[in-house]
Symmetry: C2
Subunit: 206 residues, 2 copies
């Protein structure tokens, strides 16, 4: 009874949230540095400065840790904010620029997590494909809505369908595109944004 | 002495080559199905129908198996043939088509291996990054030479450098581009080739 009351105190709740945060930070850092398969729960506990059983109690096992790390990133994505800006904008060129800025922010901020998720998916499809789907579905929805908006403004070339425009937006601003510009071309994020924006404008607008 | 002479007989040499081939095939199949980290040498041996020690004797441990599987794929790549066709062609549009055809062939044929290598690289950079470098260096060299050739024919827009044209060729026909078109868009290989070719022509030629 005393235990239970103590657990529901604001201080205890704050401590539990801090522990959870430390565990998730440690998991992301270790997954990114060494790969999901090569990290143990005990190592994550050690890095977070807690007991192994605390990791299981506060988040769960390794698959739960990966899921929760991704959920946190999806929750703090700027996708919704970008969607609002696109809806309020009437200038097709500016709309494409907004997508370049919005997707750059998320790709730059979450680059480690995206690499971890993608590697986990490639290595064992069944478990991680659904996570990747969750990571990309809001992203793809934003791009599909943007293609509709550009079409509504009469900005797309006549021989380009809305679906193809949506594919071009993913081709130019999707996760693989940012990786290609930053990793394969060695560009910094500003230069990558200019590079991809230039291609998108050439492919998308009349 | 008898052992040694027997080992150097043509029949023994053929058997050794067959065993090696069976081991490499089994390794690729298991790496692709379950991910490099989740496969043991004993499982590869079992799948190839040989003893575990035969795997070590004929190829080596897991890192050697991955390296040899990639080497075999690089050796049978059509990159060199495509380079010869590009050198012999004077029509810029046809040159871009040749790159589309050549890179499609390698990406389609080696799609499992590319996924395995990429996942291995993402998960533990130090070991596999050099392998990825080896896999892509001939590929990137072909695209750089093609950009030079298009420039020599006066086919590039005036504001496009040869380096940027080379980046555009990787953006449109590199390993991530084919994966995006086939996996993310769900296109078959013919449709993917048409999709990517259309974008490359729009971005590259005057």
């Amino acid at each position: 009874m005393t235990e239970s009351r103590a657990y529901h105190s604001p201080r205890r709740r704050q401590e539990a949230a801090n522990t959870r945060r430390a565990v998730l930070d440690a998991a992301l850092r270790l997954f990114a540095d060494r790969g999901y398969d090569r990290v143990t729960v005990a190592e994550i506990a050690s890095r977070a400065g807690v007991a192994t059983k605390t990791v299981y109690a506060s988040v769960g096992g390794k698959p739960d840790l990966l899921k929760e790390v991704i959920s946190a990133a999806v929750d703090e994505s700027r996708g919704q904010g970008t969607a609002d800006l696109v809806r309020a904008c009437d200038d097709p060129r500016r709309i494409v620029e907004l997508i370049a800025e919005g997707t750059r922010g998320d790709n730059e901020q979450h680059r480690d997590l995206l690499a971890v998720t993608h590697a986990a998916m490639s290595a064992h499809q069944e478990e991680a494909a659904a996570l990747w789907e969750r990571t990309t579905s809001l992203y793809r929805a934003l791009l599909a809505e943007t293609a509709e908006r550009l079409d509504g403004l009469g900005a797309l070339p006549e021989d380009l369908s809305v679906e193809e425009a949506s594919q071009i937006l993913w081709f130019c601003f999707g996760i693989p595109a940012w990786r290609t510009a930053v990793h394969d071309f060695g560009l910094d994020w500003d230069a990558a944004q200019r590079w991809l924006l230039r291609r998108a404008l050439a492919l998308l607008l009349r």
